[in-house]
């Protein structure tokens, strides 16, 4: 069984982005870019399934600008066997990404696609579920544990009140939550090896997918600032403030 892992290049989680002065977006020129942390967890999980001989091959795929090749190399350094870049400068929205991924699924016929539950830039939390719908497959989102036996994956999911376990028929979609695993660090030899792994490049047109955005961002604003920073001397002062000033207790 092949496993397909879509990986997204995003602004590193340590960067605090700034809204551009003209309110057209956020300023991401010259900021550090990394693989979306949830995608790293997805790559790690797929590689572990291959190491357990559940999977035979792990294919990383990314859609976006030419620099996404770096993200794919990272995925291959963690252990993905090869990479596919769908190269475009167009602003990709989740529905378009899901359609591109469906085209790759149609070509590669994986038994499982493992995605991040959300990308930490747009926080959309859509792509995996959309891909599942387009393929007519089952989905297990927010996974904290995955077991594959035969053609069924048993997945424990993080839900609002606790955890839920579902069984999904393969082929299927899984999206990762934070505590599914801890991704390994890529070692230098593996980073070197990754440079030689196969990386194929397609354009959306090669896949017959229309990626025209459906949503237009009219403007981007700073959120309202909180007036923090007041310190109180001791517990008595704190209680006084909460009772008499804020009136919340």
């Amino acid at each position: 069984m092949k496993i397909l892992v879509p990986v997204k290049r995003v602004v590193d989680y340590n960067v605090k982005v700034r809204v551009k002065a003209d309110n057209t977006g956020v300023d991401i020129a010259n900021v550090k870019m990394s693989m979306n942390p949830f995608c790293e967890i997805a790559v790690e999980e797929a590689v572990r399934l291959r190491e357990k001989s559940v999977a035979t091959e792990v294919i990383a795929v990314s859609a976006g600008v030419v620099q996404c090749q770096e993200t794919l190399r990272n995925a291959m350094a963690i252990g993905a066997d090869r990479g596919i870049l769908i190269e475009t400068d167009v602003e990709l929205q989740p529905l378009a990404v899901a359609k591109l991924l469906k085209a790759i699924v149609d070509k590669e016929q994986p038994g499982l696609v493992i995605l991040g539950k959300q990308a930490i830039d747009d926080d959309a939390n859509q792509t995996g579920q959309m891909l599942a719908a387009l393929l007519g497959w089952g989905q297990a989102t927010f996974a904290s544990k995955v077991e594959v036996a035969g053609d069924v994956a048993t997945v424990t999911r993080e839900i609002d009140g606790g955890a839920e376990t579902v069984a999904i028929k393969l082929p299927a979609i899984i999206t990762t939550d934070l505590r599914l695993n801890e991704p390994r660090y890529a070692t230098l030899p593996n980073i070197m090896k990754a440079k030689k792994k196969q990386l194929d490049i397609f354009k959306p047109a090669d896949l017959g997918v229309d990626v025209t955005p459906r949503l237009t961002t009219l403007r981007v604003d700073e959120p309202p600032k909180r007036q923090g920073g007041v310190k109180v001397a001791d517990v008595a002062a704190l209680i006084d403030k909460l009772k008499n000033e804020a009136k919340v207790i």
Binding site: I120, Q139, A167, R214, T216, V220, V230, A246
Partner: protein
């Protein structure tokens, strides 16, 4: 123009988040209908019909919906979707599972986690862990939207006079089956609905200390309990305690952060709280930057003092 709200419920009653979504639907304008896809769920449907602003409830009652699995739920929404200009769901684990499937099946974009309705096509949503608010306009004929509960007041649970209409349920998708659930049992208010939250971080040191120090405070204040990711990762508390960008988004009247440094991912989940209190021994911890009242000190001394004085 009519709006369809996908209800989150437990068959017998509506989940609180559904009420916030109904408010968002009312803000768009036009009729508000609610879809209850469940099993033996007439009580939830009746409750939905009472909610202020709801004119019709569609009840799809079937064993296919017994476990609220997203594959069947999405198919059910699509089966009734033709009459609607807007389809709305809560941005909860349930809503996030269903809505993107609906959007893809209808070939429409989804607008996630809206915090404001500007007009029928235009919405505001946070991006980059809430460090920016994007105003987004959709060119699709049908808008599929998920709603951030903390941004819309809950609709009143009475005053409505909606009718309940039974609709034909879809067949079970057969794609997934429910195995089991482990729901955290608690007498406390639900995190996302609580008026007061006591939240603990890595500074607590262990699960034992977390419970020993924070439980008495939460008891005194009748508060829900939350945590930072570091506290959850270290196993102090279950996963569903996590507040933040990738956990729960909360906005209580009072949020007390104890031994939490205030990483942007944590702030993303709580900075819309009305009043924030931080207790931390590091005077430079970023949490103080958003706290209305900061207390610099050792939490193991300060919190018991606070409990004693309340």
């Amino acid at each position: 123009m009519a709006n369809l709200v996908i209800a989150e419920h437990d068959h017998g009653s509506l989940k609180a988040a559904t009420l916030n979504v109904i408010s968002a639907a009312s803000a768009i304008g036009g009729d508000v209908h609610v879809l209850v896809a469940g099993h033996n769920a007439s009580a939830a449907a009746a409750a939905a019909a009472q909610v202020a602003g709801v004119s019709k409830v569609l009840l799809a009652d079937s064993a296919a919906h017994a476990n609220l699995l997203p594959e069947s739920a999405a198919a059910q929404v699509v089966a009734v979707a033709a009459a609607y200009s807007h389809i709305l769901a809560p941005a909860t684990a349930y809503g996030k599972g269903v809505a993107p499937r609906v959007a893809a099946l209808l070939d429409k974009a989804q607008i996630s986690d809206i915090i404001k309705v500007v007009d029928a096509d235009t919405f505001v949503r946070p991006i980059y862990a809430g460090n920016a608010y994007a105003t987004v306009k959709s060119s699709d004929s049908v808008k599929v939207v998920t709603v951030r509960g903390t941004a819309f007041a809950a609709a009143a649970t009475s005053g409505g006079s909606g009718t309940v209409e039974n609709v034909m349920a879809v067949a079970d998708s057969g794609l997934s089956t429910f195995v089991s659930a482990e729901i955290t049992k608690s007498e406390r208010p639900e995190l996302t609905a609580a008026k007061i939250i006591v939240s603990g971080g890595r500074g607590l040191g262990s699960g034992e200390k977390y419970r020993e120090v924070l439980t008495p405070l939460a008891d005194k204040l009748n508060a829900a309990m939350g945590a930072s990711r570091a506290a959850v990762d270290a196993g102090f508390v279950p996963n569903d305690y996590q507040v933040g960008q990738t956990g729960k988004i909360v906005a209580p009247d009072l949020y007390i952060a104890v031994g939490i440094s205030g990483a942007i991912q944590h702030l993303a989940g709580m900075k819309d709280s009305k009043v924030i209190v931080a207790i931390n021994k590091d005077p430079d911890a970023p949490i103080f930057g958003v706290a209305d009242y900061g207390l610099v000190g050792d939490l193991f001394e300060a919190v018991p003092q606070l409990v004693a004085a309340l």
